[in-house]
Symmetry: C2
């Protein structure tokens, strides 16, 4: 049985060169058992000389852990993900894990071996998963739960009966306060709302907040003012642009998030509609560029980096056998008033 012998240094080479058994080398590498100082010293030298690197796959196979965690999202568009990834990556790295990133959009396009049985991220190539918003269906979550696979959900709550840890942000109350501001302080009444992706909870709760505010002020809900902006600049731009072609009797836009707000501003500017004099524009997230927009954007500050950090902590705790502090974490948000709503003159 001839087989191309991969010419790399294995644990056996190290053991031989150091005059010990592979078990000892393994113990040394993993600090999983006693090793005499003399042997340890020798091993350190030999490993350096040989430039030895353990084979990750072999470790995974033998130990049943990968020391990797996955991050899953429908897509990775927009600035939103930068603080999120930074938050995740910072704790994941510190705790000795590697981060795997996958977006489902790509996966659907792609071939992936044409085999449904080989998922990009999941048991067997990661020890756990952080899943953003609607990246995992209820059914997929059920399957993962059956396998007892560690998953932490962010910006989404699990189906009933699945006690996955969750990190979400307060959407409804903040949106309510934001729209209240538009109505009460600036007297706006025809407020366009650009909702996000259909299956996203953020989208749902922001719409609830929007409706609640209208209702509280006795403003009738006009379905024609509610469009789909997709939480994304391009789609928001198109939505606003087409709205403007047949109707201009609105005096404010809640863009759904800041990314979309930028698209909205672009569309309005093209038609020379002045912000905020003629139309007020507000967003959600408070991305770090939002204060630099022209005019600076009134929005809701969401602690996105914290979401990432906390989710990663929950997951690492779980994986490391530390009791997870809270099953559900709801992070507070707050309205940030700048100029796009009409404040500050």
């Amino acid at each position: 049985m001839v087989r191309k012998k991969p010419s790399s240094v294995t644990i056996r080479d190290v053991a031989r060169a150091a005059g010990v058994s592979v078990a000892t080398v393994s113990r040394y590498l993993n600090r999983s058992g006693p090793v005499s100082p003399r042997v340890a010293q020798k091993l350190a030298r030999v490993i350096a000389e040989l430039n030895y690197m353990p084979h990750a796959g072999a470790r995974h196979l033998a130990s049943h852990r990968t020391r990797a965690v996955g991050f899953l999202s429908q897509n990775i568009l927009g600035d939103f993900f930068i603080p999120l990834l930074r938050g995740i990556e910072s704790v994941i790295g510190r705790r000795g894990y590697t981060l795997l990133v996958a977006s489902r959009q790509t996966l659907l396009d792609g071939v992936i071996g044409g085999n449904e049985a080989v998922p990009p991220l999941g048991p067997h190539n990661a020890d756990g998963l952080i899943a953003f918003a609607d990246s995992l269906s209820d059914e997929e979550l059920h399957r993962l739960y059956q396998r007892r696979f560690p998953v932490v959900l962010i910006h989404r709550t699990p189906p009933d009966g699945l006690p996955f840890p969750v990190v979400t942000i307060e959407n409804k109350a903040a949106t309510r306060a934001l729209i209240d501001h538009l109505i009460e302080v600036h007297g706006r009444k025809q407020i366009v709302f650009l909702r996000g992706p259909a299956n996203q909870e953020d989208s749902y709760w922001r719409e609830e907040g929007y409706k609640a505010s209208l209702q509280a002020h006795g403003i009738e809900y006009d379905p024609a003012l509610v469009l789909t902006g997709g939480f994304e600049r391009g789609m928001a731009y198109e939505a606003m642009k087409s709205l403007c072609t047949f109707r201009l009797d609105f005096d404010a836009v809640f863009a759904g998030n800041d990314d979309a707000a930028i698209g909205v501003m672009e569309a309005l500017r093209e038609r020379d509609i002045r912000i905020p004099e003629r139309v007020a524009v507000v967003g959600f997230d408070d991305q770090w560029v939002s204060s630099f927009l022209d005019p600076p954007l009134t929005t809701v500050a969401a602690p996105t980096e914290d979401v990432g950090r906390i989710a990663a902590q929950r997951l690492c705790d779980w994986l490391d056998g530390i009791p997870v502090a809270e099953l559900a974490t709801l992070l507070p948000t707050r309205v940030v008033i700048r100029r796009s709503c009409g404040c500050n003159g």
Copy 2:
């Protein structure tokens, strides 16, 4: 020898349930050999029923490939990385690979098992690497080269003699044109330059472009006008702020990149220095928010998403045994005139 038998479905279970050998199952899974339609059909059903998922580690061990590629950077700060990652991820996913992301900043902070021999990314847990800018030292590149480990470099050229594929962008000529514009069109002469991280080539070439322009116009190079902005908003803000405390005789700032330009604008605004009337500000990258800044930023458009896409293509080609189209790819950039330089009134 009692061992906690991981209760998961293996290829053997599938083989048994389908009444075939594991080899057949493997061939089916990998399309690595003929399988009769009948068997294939049965296998498909059995795999679904059993909810079977192959063990990635075992595959890696047996096949010597991981189907994963790593992305390495010093940090993941700023919007710059969004298009880059999107570009990379899109082709990587389509070609059946998984993306691993690691930043060295985290790694240095972290413990990583306290063992230098266990790298986060490299041979044995990825088939190849895309390394951004200064994330890999010359020496590390030499070691990887010795191991014949596939690496594609972006925004950095390899040390002499290491024929790694490279994707970079044109920095010097574009910077030169940008500064020329400031001088020739707007008559600016005291131009502050905020350089990036010390070991980054982008930083070096942009400085060269800056110098070349000054020299061509007979303006003396004033080292006191050259600060370190770190290609990053916060550092740029601090640098400008402190400069302003003891000297205000400059009439323009080349921020190094757009991220830094935002920090610069912030610092100038705090001192009520009008942009562009009193001080022109220009950047580099043309991040997608740059056109929304106040005033819209004059900058250099860099095809960041293309860089990611092309680098990923090169790497996947290499890994898949397809000859790499070009060893070195230099992508063009171009000046984008907006208002922060003083144009358009």
